[in-house]
Symmetry: none
């Protein structure tokens, strides 16, 4: 092997890993959360590397936003997940990373694109996590590419600012909820942040949080359907506040909407500092996950209708339906454009 | 613990997690140790949270004692384990947490109570692990509840103080032990404590130790029976000394007694500091685990009689038999009381 | 990002990962075992992929031998480890993979070569682990490269066949061994093989075994020196027998030799099937690890002389000394050749 082969261009990174039993559900489907975590690790490496290429304090890139991500085809245990991440735009204080994931079956040689994602990072000083550093500019292959990047930047900035931290509390379900109601499938996970979950400046990797969110959404979906379920799509996620070491993370999921063949689950991440109790609880992140139900041959199955009760659940169902119709239209429009 | 206790109250916590391949044995039964570890994590969170609600140094709750725990029914891979933990009593320097665990089959919706447990925690200062902090008092729903708690506290305190650290060494088995002898199934695990095993003030979580203890007891039972074995019961465990980061933990198990349908295994945890060698080895914990053997339909199987040799083994068998008969009587008495 | 970017040439693979707390010792040095495990995973992927490119039963590549590996410079927590693996020779039934590892400090941009390794794999049928499949030939850039590969193949084959499975038992140390004796630092780890440790056809990844071996050698070295120790070199390792799921793995380490600035530790892996007891214990692997002791600025420290007692320990010390002198000569000769 040539000595000179470099670990890759400075703005790009290839990460790959064999999918193991703990990455998958019982039937061997890789969790969407495992893939999101790999993507985020690659994005964190590539943007931290880039942001430290100029003088000044060292910094670590913190995940600020993930654009909507669709899972195009399932990945299985024993396959190799290849994640390619590349910096595609830089503003003064943020970095856009685009990633795509290919699943390779090393027995048959088959490869398939499983998803594409776009992530926004912000460089935080190693000395003071709250201090945001400037980002060195990248060079673009053409002025058009820069202009397109600037538009994506403006769009996400506007969306980010309009997205408020949630106040809508998740209430405990009634004691003996009826099947297919919201209360019946509502679930939570509680995780004590450990050293392996954290970056060099002691806040939780965004990918760790997304993996927990996908896990709870999967439990909600499985409870509703009683079948093999997989992540189909994750809506844009904004990371408003960092989660520090020594926190207890409570991840709550409740179903908001069902179509014939999909379920929408709202996931809310509440953080409680374990020791500095006076700082109080806060909602760090929230997002909508869409799951589908599969039969043994990985073909989509019909989903039981969600039974909604009361005004709040009805409102959330209507809002979920609106998101569903909006996405459907968008997909159709895209398909037409491509033809 | 009240079924209706909400997950939001400061003294309560609900934790759940999907059981994965690494949580179970080869036939898919969840290890008792996995469940003990989940219970202990919930207890640590709820009591650390409670003990930090007053002024003064921050602290982390360290496990001091677990009362006898029975495993009422097996849990399987793919099920969701729900742990509810609640603070039920506080003395000046200790916290009692009661927990119960429900297994939910998310495919069929079936739920079953798998076990109840009671744990005692002591708050240790973050600045100095050896300094015990005062515990803020909880309020009780009735004076009777407080009085019952006080009695449980006095009982465990007396038992704790009478339980000595062991000195009874585990000797190496003979070179070619005969089948069904003590030496034949005697086993150990040796583990180097890593950062993921530790609390914020760098000692090992009690749950990590209990999981290793259950694992070695399971190896001993499997070697004796050559069948699918599961944890039926764990006797009260006292944690006399903390295990610090950078220690090598040796967990040894030997069978002490068999009845027709159960095996009793003594587990001894020996700790050797890796760097501060002058401190020497010490026995940190010991306990008796009871296992049963199951056929493919999860029905109990007869257990081969343990062949004892020499005075020590005979004495331990007699003592095991006495514990067995005592427990049997107690169970019968309880059943009569309930009728 | 271009859709067409492929996950790499079929005979090459790049793997990278951020080094986390659990990958390092207390002072932040990455364990040699972590690096060996990453290398082996990359080698397993690239050779499994290659061996499945022709018709016939699917197969998984099993590690048969690792050539001597030197650790040229330490790697630290927070750095990114880049492993590049490439198939460099194929015989009828084996694959040679060469790998090199670069550590990248993403804060400073500094990169350094940490080690090179050569591994030999054998393709085992998925249907029958004991059946070895034929390997499709690779094409070489020049006839010289093929000829050099053939020579490496013949050399390792001869060495492999002459290396016998060990029969030299590790005996228990005396009860209160004196400091700096063999018995004082002798250590073991005992691990129950879990699903995450195994390949698709249910035997343990060679990298998992090497990681345990490095871990125990590190414990031995730390006990001898009481300082920060790191892996400097691992002698060639031959994997004579596969370790199957459901086995208990006992990894024993004892110091055999010390020079002024290095320690040699012999590591022996003994396997005991948990259920198929009739098959009995066997020694699966053994190897010599060389460790050095570092001060706080990562400069080598003198090593206390090993006190040997009795004929066997004296013999092993002499043999270790011979290996040490042989390696020293070889290094000097190589340095001269390069000038």
């Amino acid at each position: 092997m040539s000595e000179s082969s470099s670990p890759g261009a400075p703005c790009c990174l290839q990460v790959c890993r064999l999918m193991r039993p703990e990455d998958t559900n019982i039937v061997g489907n890789v969790h969407g959360g495992t893939i999101l975590k790999m993507i985020e690790e690659a994005g964190c490496i590539v943007s931290t590397r880039h942001c430290n290429t100029q003088d000044g304090d060292h910094c670590v890139a913190a995940l600020a936003r993930v654009e909507k991500t669709e899972f195009l085809s399932p990945m299985f245990i024993g396959e190799v997940a290849h994640v390619s991440a590349e910096i595609t735009y830089t503003s003064q204080r943020s970095v856009e990373v685009q990633a795509h994931v290919v699943a390779e079956n090393i027995l048959t040689g088959a490869k398939k694109l499983t998803n594409k994602a776009a992530l926004w990072y912000v460089p935080c000083s190693l000395k003071n996590v709250e201090e945001i550093k400037d980002v060195p500019p990248i060079t673009y292959a053409s002025p058009e590419l820069e202009e397109e990047g600037r538009k994506r930047y403006e769009t996400q900035k506007a969306l980010r600012q309009s997205s408020n931290e949630r106040s809508d509390e998740v209430v405990a379900p009634p004691p003996n909820p009826e099947k297919h109601t919201v209360g019946f499938s509502q679930s939570s996970l509680i995780h004590l942040v450990g050293p392996s979950d954290c970056t060099m400046n002691d806040f939780v990797h965004g990918g760790v949080t997304m993996k927990l969110m996908d896990e709870v959404a999967g439990i909600v979906a499985a409870r509703h359907c009683n079948t093999n379920i997989v992540t189909a799509c994750v809506d844009a996620i904004n990371f408003h506040r960092k989660i520090k070491k020594g926190s207890v993370v409570k991840v709550q999921g409740r179903m908001t909407f069902t179509s014939n063949r999909s379920m929408e689950i709202e996931v809310i991440v509440e953080v409680e500092p374990l020791v500095e109790v006076d700082k109080g609880k806060y909602c760090a992140v929230s997002a909508f996950f869409t799951f589908i139900s599969l039969d043994k041959k990985n073909r989509p199955l019909p989903v039981p209708l969600l039974k909604v009760e009361g005004e709040d659940e009805e409102r959330r169902f209507r809002e979920g339906n609106a998101r569903y119709l909006h996405n459907k239209e968008k997909r159709l429009a895209e398909r037409e454009r491509q033809q």
